[in-house]
């Protein structure tokens, strides 16, 4: 028992330190790694009732989020797994719950806020009470976990599958969003956006303008990749975003985090592009997988949330004399408020920023918002 706990503890610690040291970066990679660790933890976990299991998973989640609070997809993945596990648990344990739940509550505006989740929410608590009574077997405490584990693994596998196909699913309606001979502006190198544009290119002929996106200059890579896929691509300096905006039909951005208020964090420069787009009434569309949805409302109040990076990207360390005299601020992300964004394209359909909160409610359980 001790050793076992140490064992999965170890894989969690390894991931935590990797996250902390920024050896794992990127929302999707982090999410995948988290899932792998969760799968290990769950497969080895010993629990005699459902609360214990949830607590184990939450504990892992807490540890990982604490290690790197800025990689939100980690927490989101844990929440998602918890949500799936609850669902599977309910179906596995007894069908009585859901009916009981819906029958008592039903939808009404007054209860809406209280209940949070309009669909299949209420049953959760009710059935839990029932089943723990039923399943918490004092003679054989392992029987519960043995019975549930295959279902749990399946639930985690579902999340994993969803993550693995996320790019394709976001892109499946690409042709509906990009029309022939349009001019699209994009920033940075978001894998989601890249796949989206390439998929659209199968059916449509259009032009992409890629801003260089300093100080990482990811845009250069993006432009290379797009033009090698046969899309007519222009690479422009960041300074010309505004002047080109009048010719642009649509701005397509990637996201790092989508907040509950419909705003998002995205690579530095996104705010400039979005503001320029607003000035020209150009639509701004954000492509992102569902795992970027984060149940936080006011992250943008936190100064450090934009992830201030290394000044050396902006000012070379070898500029010896300047280093002492200049304070360099190099945020990695911009916060783009919901009013700048027209639509989110996710693997779960297209949504306006104003309905993101609803999507969140459906994706995660309320009690997991704080891990």
């Amino acid at each position: 028992m001790q050793a076992e706990r140490g064992q999965h503890h170890r894989s969690v610690e390894v991931l935590a330190s990797k996250l902390r040291r920024r050896q794992i970066v990127g929302s999707r990679t982090a999410a995948l790694e988290t899932l792998v660790v969760l799968r290990q933890v769950v497969s080895r976990a010993r629990f005699s009732n459902f609360e214990q299991l949830v607590e184990i998973i939450r504990g892992v989640g807490r540890r990982l989020v604490e290690a790197q609070p800025k990689e939100h997809s980690v927490g989101n993945t844990v929440r998602k797994v918890l949500h799936h596990i609850r669902e599977e648990y309910q179906t596995a344990v007894g069908q009585t719950g859901p009916q009981a739940g819906t029958s008592t509550s039903g939808f009404s505006i007054s209860k809406f806020v209280l209940q949070g989740q309009p669909r299949r929410h209420v049953p959760a608590q009710k059935t839990e009470v029932k089943t723990t009574l039923k399943e918490d077997d004092p003679e054989d405490p392992d029987s519960f976990s043995k019975g549930l584990k295959p279902v749990l693994m399946e639930a985690i596998q579902d999340v994993l599958d969803e993550l693995e196909t996320v790019y394709d699913n976001v892109s499946k309606n690409a042709r509906d969003h990009i029309h022939p001979d349009e001019i699209i502006l994009t920033l940075g190198r978001s894998k989601t956006v890249e796949t989206f544009l390439k998929t659209a290119a199968h059916n449509r002929h259009y032009t992409v303008i890629v801003a260089e996106t300093g100080p990482s200059y990811d845009g250069r890579e993006m432009a290379k990749s797009l033009s090698s896929a046969g899309i007519s691509t222009f690479l422009v300096p960041d300074s010309s975003i505004f002047s080109l905006m009048s010719r642009v039909n649509k701005v397509i951005l990637g996201a790092h985090v989508i907040l509950a208020n419909g705003g998002m964090f995205a690579i530095t420069g996104s705010l400039i592009a979005a503001t320029a787009a607003k000035a020209h009434s150009t639509p701004v569309v954000v492509c992102a997988g569902q795992f970027k949805l984060t149940p936080l409302w006011n992250l943008y109040h936190e100064y450090g949330a934009v992830d201030f990076g290394n000044p050396s990207d902006v000012l070379g360390f070898n500029e010896g004399e300047l280093v002492n005299k200049v304070d360099v601020v190099n945020p990695y992300y911009d916060y783009v408020a919901p009013e700048f964004i027209d639509a989110y394209i996710t693997n779960d359909g297209d949504h306006p920023p104003s309905s993101i909160y609803r999507l969140l409610k459906e994706t995660y359980d309320d009690e997991d918002n704080e891990l």
């Binding site: 140490g6 503890h9 170890r10 969690v12 610690e13 390894v14 330190s17 902390r20 040291r21 920024r22 050896q23 800025k70 100064y303 450090g304 201030f308 990076g309 290394n310 000044p311 050396s312 360390f317 070898n318 500029e319 010896g320 004399e321 280093v323 002492n324 304070d327 360099v328 190099n330």
Partner: protein
Amino acid sequence: MASKNAASGKEKLIDEEQEILQAVVLADSWNRRFRPLTTKKPRCLLPICNAPLLDWTFESLALAGVQEVFVICRSYSEQIKDAIKKSKWSRTGSGMKIVPIMTAKETYSAGDAMRDIYTRGLVTGDFILVQGDLVSNIQIDEVVRVHKERRKTNKDAILTMVVKEAGVQHRTRSRGDSPIFVVDSETSECLHYEPSFAFPKKQHANIPREVLAEHKEVEIRYDLIDCGIDVCSFEVPSLFQDNFDYLDMRRDFVHGVLTSDLLMKNIHVFVAKDGYAARVQDTRSYESISKDILSRWTFPLVPDDNYPGSERYQHTGGNQYVAKTHPATISRTAKIGRNTLIGSSTRIHDNAEIIGSVVGPNCTIGAGSVIENAYIFEGTTVGAECRVTRSIVGSGVEIRDGSTVERGSLIGDGVVIGPGAKLKPFERLSVPWKAPASTAGSDEDDDEDSDIEDIEASQDTVDKASLGPESNAVVWIDKPPEDDDLDSPENYNNLKYMRLGEDDVTLDVHHSDKDTESVVSEEQQLQDSSDEEDNYDDHTDAESVVSLSKDTQGGLMADKEFRSEVNQSLERAFAEGHSVDNAAVELKTLRMASNVPLIRVKEAVVAAIVEKIPVLEGAAEQRMEVNKTIARWGQLINRIGGVDPVETISLLQRHISTSARMSLFGQILAAFYQTDVVEEDDIRAWHSLSTSQGIDLPLGEERENMGKAWIVGAHMIHQLDQQSDSEEEGSDEDEESD
């Protein structure tokens, strides 16, 4: 588990990929730049940005995926051991195994530590050697990969030094110890290493001629920060073992390996493009590295991210960091400036101002006090209306109301000053030393004890009124030692350049020079330094400044001695008919012993050979004699190392211009040519050198003779041209030069 490997696999080579990555941390600094802060604890446990230096070092290594770390501790080894045991690194899942190694008190240098590593057989393969004061986010594993790759083709590449590009004036670059690296641009092999201190100031860098001759492209760099990260092959400790006089890693080991003709080992340099690495090697770099951390150059090693300490910090605008878990209590009217770190549970009272400083946990800053660019350790109390500027204040210090701590002050743990104390700049204070006080006393070596006794004995002469009525402090007096070693960076004046808060350093040393005239009196002032911007007297270390043009003039005692030794040895060789090889070995040994540049040996050999030729009457006999002598001994010139025929001709010309055998120049040169000591191309190359005409020499016989010799050379080239034109096979090249 890994230490068992150490026993088994000394000879194991380095090709396995899954071999664990080892690192050795030298947790002792072997100098006293931080005293009196380090009288009761080791430097590597001093906090920087509220986390012990050693933890930053471990984190830097963890970032590189190091799996096993040996920490070599000397002073206060128990404290270091405890700290490691308590740290997060000894928990499971840290991924790094840290083994403290207690070394003997007699370990007086990095070299001794390396010898200790060798005798204990700690390392099994290539390892990373760092100092216990490193802060870095460089991907050292990348350097290790490059190093191993290189080792596959070149077994002699034993060491890769990591350096970081920075400007000459960069705040993080040490003023006191700023070496010059000569690097081959293509292979990044380090060809020459020249230590350079702020005092005595170096006017010339002496780069061996072979370096320039043998490599196509050479970079001479003075803008690098030596990060103190070395990727060593397993034979490095054994080299230390063989060369028991190596003390310093750089000045002795690197310099020694590079100048040695016998070791034939290569050292490479890795210029880190990305990332940050620097050593907290003096109080000055303590400040600059603190600032680098706060302005996020070390990202992700910053207080709000991958912070090595246990506390979590919140990052707010202007790079302010405030502890998160046990937040500080900060008065509404207090002003917190940019680049500031405030530790947990610290209280900051009304109207206090904190700018560019680090305040440790559990401190109290009184109302209206101003803390500017100061570094305050744990649990210190600063009273009301105080002023602390550019200083380091130890833990548990009490600075009572109305005191002023001027720039550059170091206040040791537990000192009480004030109320109303007025410290002078660069004042150093500590509590009185109680000899039988604690176990820490046994950790001290006698040397240091006597040092502290000295300080205490001299207290009567110090006016302590400025420390305030309630003070318990003893003052560390700043006086130059009698036996100041100018070859070491620890010399009195050089240390001034490493102090925190030293802005106008040139001026300051200039003034103090007047008091310490005796230290520097024997050094001459150079005339050619008038273009130097600074007004600081340019002293040169006579031995290290050997510019090429002055070579032949010699004039130094050591040089003369060496010359006579060479002559004696050659005479013996001539008389006893040694083989050329034996004579060459003898000369090499001689050169090692007296540590002179190669050119000196060559010069002496050329001179001796020329002088050996007897002067005869008849032209034919004369030629015979010349050919005989050169045929017998000419090859010796190339055997002593560093084949450079052009230089040989130049030396011959120089020597002969002042010799009675001036008339033989043509014949000797021809004989050299015939015995393949020099080639045709070399003669041409020599001839086209501007110095060969001797124009830059003062008027006189020497210049005239140089000119003559040059003309002889011209003739010879002319003749060689004709020869090759007509395809003659004439072997008779000496001509009407007489």
